[in-house]
């Protein structure tokens, strides 16, 4: 069959050299410029139907935006504007998702090009469109097209939490013409995007820009407000036509094993919050202290573990990731694992911690692990089950970071007793994302447990539609 030649390899994106990046928190991947982005876009086969669209949880018209990008190669501004318009139909935070989505499991997994060579680098293209648009003022122009002129007249909605779920829900509702107020417990908006994911993966200026965009849309953000404490859900319902809960899964799971109270054993949340949100890496210029030794062990193998490991490395520690399962069972994005390995993070598999050993000052000095063995049998998530071998090994460590998972914070559900929860603490919602309390909707990690940024955004968007319908229906005369 004649046709354009298949280009099997991706157009590469430059990265900051390892020697340089392990000493700073600068972003590692530098992304495409226009010429290389168009080159990568030209590899796309424009499949119809396009399996990549099915792989993306919010079903972005991927071939559509890729086509727009390469079609107008003479006019970068036009090309990017058209591409961004298509992306924004389904995803308002492409600069973020382009950077943090697990593309290899989502849009890029079913990409047809992946069968012949490397899949199209959809994530980096999406990121390029967003970054270019922001830099060249295209985003601002386009925002006008997407904004309703009925600002604030359709009703009032309260959004609880300013992670990706809350930000998206607020943005969508504001664009439809609602007056939206976000209530955030912390002193900075962004949820995990600000306190969890480090600078070297997601520069904070990108998030700042997204927040500024929301403010331009008329969204008000009340920081330092803990819903359930500062203001109750009931009080919100008196003042607002509907409420969206996007409080995430912010409570760390801990290992209840001997020595858990020793000094220098951190949860990934404490470690990353001190570093990202409070900028402890700039201590003593910033007031927040952190105490890190020379040998750090990180327990876990998700994104959180990689972020903690690479942050500890940048703070000058040797770092080993210890995981109770095998290499192929790690849940982090492939890019993060690759970067961690390049930067010198060591990996130990099939080790399950059983005890933390302390020195005479109450600081951790070693971790005792049981060696594990995989079985053929798989668990509900498709991972191989593991069993203990009865053999133990002790690894020296003067710092330990526990990154074994997170669960929903119960502040709201404890206070608002009408709010039904599942046994794992997630909120019960119906197919429209409405909770057990009429007019109260929820999405993101608060209903899913630990999930992803794009799923949280997808929920925020879906809930915004449902909230609009709910309020408009309520307004109709009976």
């Amino acid at each position: 069959m004649a046709g354009p030649k298949l280009i099997k390899e991706r157009v590469p994106t430059p990265e900051v050299p390892v020697e340089e990046r392990v000493k700073s928190f600068v972003e590692v991947n530098l992304g495409y410029d226009f010429v290389s982005a168009v080159k990568e876009a030209e590899r796309c086969l424009q499949c119809n139907p396009a399996p990549c669209i099915q792989g993306c949880p919010v079903h972005i018209n991927i071939p559509g935006f890729i086509k727009a990008l390469r079609e107008n190669a003479e006019s970068p501004e036009e090309a990017v504007k058209n591409a961004l318009r298509i992306i924004w139909d389904d995803n308002t935070l492409p600069a973020i998702t382009g950077r943090v989505c697990p593309q290899e499991e989502q849009c890029e997994a079913p990409c047809v090009m992946g069968k012949a060579g490397e899949p199209i680098n959809i994530g980096k293209l999406e990121r390029f469109v967003a970054d270019y648009a922001r830099k060249h003022g295209i985003e601002k122009e386009l925002l006008k097209e997407f904004t309703s002129t009925e600002n604030g007249v359709k009703g009032k909605v309260a959004v609880v939490g300013s992670g990706p779920a809350g930000l998206t829900c607020a943005g969508e509702l504001a664009k439809m013409g609602y007056k939206v107020t976000i209530f955030e417990a912390l002193h900075k908006p962004g949820g995990v995007l600000v306190y969890g994911i480090p600078e070297f993966r997601l520069p904070k200026e990108i998030l700042d820009r997204e927040i500024a965009k929301l403010k331009e849309l008329g969204v008000e953000i009340k920081l330092d407000h803990i819903v359930g404490k500062t203001v109750t859900l009931e009080e919100l319902l008196e003042e607002y036509d509907a409420v969206f809960i996007g409080t995430g899964a912010g409570t760390p799971k801990l290992l209840n094993i001997p020595g858990i109270l020793l000094d220098r054993i951190y949860t990934s949340n404490e470690f990353l919050t001190r570093i990202n949100l409070m900028k402890a890496y700039k201590f003593p210029e910033y007031d927040e202290p952190i105490s890190i030794g020379k040998k750090t062990i990180v327990i876990g193998a998700g994104n959180t573990a990689m972020d903690a490991a690479r942050s500890a490395l940048r703070m000058g520690s040797e770092v080993t990731i210890a995981y109770r399962r095998g290499r192929e069972d790690m849940t982090a994005r492939i890019e993060e694992i690759k970067h961690a390995e390049e930067e010198g993070v060591k990996f130990e598999f099939f080790l399950n911690p059983v005890e933390f050993i302390g020195d005479e000052n109450g600081k951790v000095k070693a971790v005792k692990f049981e060696k594990m063995r995989p079985l053929e049998e798989r668990d509900a998530k498709g991972k191989r089950k593991i069993v203990g071998t009865g053999e133990y090994i002790t690894l020296e460590a003067d710092t330990v970071i526990i990154a074994i998972g997170l669960e929903p914070n119960k502040i709201i559900s404890e206070e608002a007793t009408g709010l039904k929860t599942n046994p794992d603490g997630t909120l019960v919602v119906d197919e429209n994302l409405m909770t057990s309390i009429p007019g109260v909707f929820a999405g993101g990690d608060a209903i899913r447990g630990e999930a992803t940024v794009i799923l949280a955004m997808g929920d925020g968007k879906k809930a915004a539609k449902a909230i609009d319908e709910y309020i408009q229906k309520k307004r109709l005369p009976a």
Binding site: A185, L186, H187, K222, L223, D224, H225, I226, K229, T230, V231, G250, T251, P252, L254, N256, I260, L261, D263, R264, Y266, T267, N269, E270, T273, R274, M278, K279, F283, P284, E285, Y286, D287, E288, P289, I290, S291, G362, N409, K410, I411
Partner: protein, 277 residues
């Protein structure tokens, strides 16, 4: 948006009183809950007890020890009329205000001195006989009486270690006497963790309920980081979310005391830094 400092007053050689505009907290604060403040862009999140919440004017009062960077900035740099970056709350669980009988509140450090008045006021309104014991190291550290719980206490004691003001000794000594007179139905206390450990041992044999502020190093104060974890009845609990007022008999005090000293090295380093610059 910042929060304006509306009053500041020196209390003693080491502590001061500060009031800030925080209407969101003033209207919802309940006895037993705390707040977290940040002084400026570069500041850390610092937990503070509440002396009073003035709903009408939307203000909260605090007692603060000149302790380290944040509290030095608050005392030496910030003036009345200036703003602090952030204050969030109320955090933690309120204590149960009801009729217990004879209620003691004992304090030997700044956080608890702050909590004494509001707690005993609420307890008195609930029909209890209230006993306040304020312990200080010496005269220089002792507060003016109008900041103490005297107006809401049926019985009122001040102690100093050197006897320069009030009785010589510590709240533990007074409590021992009161317990021997069978005058104590419940104790609320806070302050130095070492004293709280001894207090737990003192009341345990008598089975007197003892509810104390478990002061641990905190970051968020909302249950998000696990920094404030303590062993409580063999289980891991977060002092900010499950406390801060908790049953003293169930806390593993030795570990709690060790964890509270976690950043001593860095803080010393920084204090030297501050002094040198």
């Amino acid at each position: 948006m910042g929060y304006k400092i509306t009053k500041k007053e020196n209390l003693s050689a080491i502590d001061f009183f500060m009031e800030v505009e925080a209407p969101h907290i003033a209207k919802s604060w309940k006895v037993g809950q705390f707040v977290v403040l940040i002084v400026d862009e570069k500041g850390e999140r610092v937990p503070m007890s509440v002396y009073y919440a003035d709903r009408e004017n939307g203000r909260i009062g605090m007692f603060i020890r000149r302790h380290g960077v944040t509290t030095f900035k608050l005392w030496y740099e910030k003036k009345v009329g200036d703003e602090i970056l952030s204050i969030a709350g109320p955090l933690g669980k309120p204590i149960e205000v009801k009729h217990y009988g004879n209620v003691v509140f004992a304090a030997d450090a700044v956080c608890a001195q702050a909590e004494a008045y509001a707690t005993l006021k609420a307890m008195k309104e609930a029909g209890n006989y209230t006993i306040a014991i304020h312990s200080f190291e010496n005269k220089a550290n002792t507060y003016p009486e109008e900041y103490l719980a005297k107006p809401v206490a049926d019985e009122f004691y001040i102690t100093t270690e050197d006897g320069s003001v009030g009785r010589k000794g510590h709240y533990l000594d007074i409590l021992k006497e009161l317990i021997e007179q069978d005058k104590v139905d419940i104790v609320f206390a806070g302050g130095k963790l070492g004293s709280l450990k001894k207090l737990a041992e003192l009341t345990r044999p008598y089975g007197i309920p003892t509810i104390v502020t478990v002061r641990q190093i905190m970051v968020d104060g909302t249950g998000m980081c696990g920094s404030c974890r303590v062993l409580y009845d063999g289980e891991i609990k977060f002092a900010c979310r499950d406390g801060p007022m908790m049953d003293a008999h169930k806390i593993d005090w030795d570990d709690a005391i060790k964890r509270n000293a976690r950043f001593a090295e860095q803080e010393n380093l920084r204090e030297k830094d501050t002094l040198l610059n």
